[in-house]
């Protein structure tokens, strides 16, 4: 249990856990006690969710910007690009159709 690498890496996981915990508690609190509402709340929840996803990618899935992992970062970014085209396109088209019905 004295392996320095091991405790360093364990602390890394714990740091990620702490960040994710905070990013979870805040939106739940906002909704539970109705501290914000409407558009502002929706945007806050979305930003916190994206932040938490980045935290998970960084601390649990170990994706970073180092050269060795570039190939895989590219894979994820490319997926996000295609998914954004498909999902945002879907919302745009279906939303547009809904307003015209």
């Amino acid at each position: 249990m004295t392996d320095p690498d091991h405790s360093k890496e364990a602390r890394f996981y714990l740091a990620g856990f702490g960040l994710a915990l905070t990013l979870t508690l805040v939106p739940f609190a906002l909704v539970h006690w109705a501290l914000m509402e409407g558009r502002a709340l929706a945007i806050t929840i979305a930003v916190l969710a994206v932040a938490q996803i980045v935290v998970h990618l960084r601390f649990f899935l170990h994706i970073d910007l180092s050269r060795q992992k570039r190939e895989d970062l590219q894979l994820i970014l490319f997926t996000v690009l295609l998914l954004a085209i498909m999902a945002i396109g879907t919302l745009w088209i279906m939303g547009n159709l809904a307003t015209r019905m």
């Binding site: 392996d3 690498d5 091991h6 890496e9 364990a10 996981y13 714990l14 990620g16 856990f17 994710a20 915990l21 979870t24 939106p27 739940f28 909704v31 539970h32 109705a34 509402e37 709340l41 929706a42 929840i45 979305a46 916190l48 969710a49 938490q52 996803i53 998970h56 990618l57 649990f60 899935l61 170990h62 994706i63 180092s66 060795q68 992992k69 190939e71 895989d72 970062l73 894979l75 994820i76 997926t79 295609l82 998914l83 498909m86 999902a87 879907t90 919302l91 279906m94 939303g95 809904a98």
Partner: protein, 209 residues
Amino acid sequence: MSTSNLHPGLNLGDHHGEAHEGAETIVFGFWIFLMSDLVIFGLVFASYLTVANPMGMAGGPGPEDAFDLASIFAQTMILLTSSLTFGFATLAMRHERGRAAIARWLGVSLLLGLVFLSLELRDFAHMIEAGAVPQHSGYWSAFWGLVPLHGLHVAVGCLWLMVMLAQMATLGLIPVVKTRLLRLGLFWHFLDLIWVAIFSIVYLGGLMP
């Protein structure tokens, strides 16, 4: 962290020899699979958002009639903790802490996964009582298409975990078992990531004041 990373996610490290090198191809392939799965989830989310409105609810019950924020919060905490415990299992494997240490952390993760599933099933039972069933409206169809899809993934993850515990016992920590545990770890963390989107969009979005 490690000097030579061959694939995304936590690497076993050079001292694992064959398992480390063999992981390069196999873990990369698994990442591509996860990305394909991500597209499935993304489109189900998009479909959910297109019916999350009064027209999609067709006069039936809405989210506020069926969701229980406290239970969702508990599920979120459990899933997040299980990600941490799985991370410790991966670390124990990476630093060769022995089968027992790995199995202990894996066991904790499995237990948390099963508790999550039972809480989720209890929620679903409440929803059915409240009339929030997929046969009722397009909105509830989309909900039942999305959240149980994640639940199904968690159930598959739990089964996979049991298989891995069995393989650790019968085959030992041979290279192929190690790379399978690496992939299961990615799968487990990936599901947590999907859950972040679910509680933000479906539950918090649905219960927003």
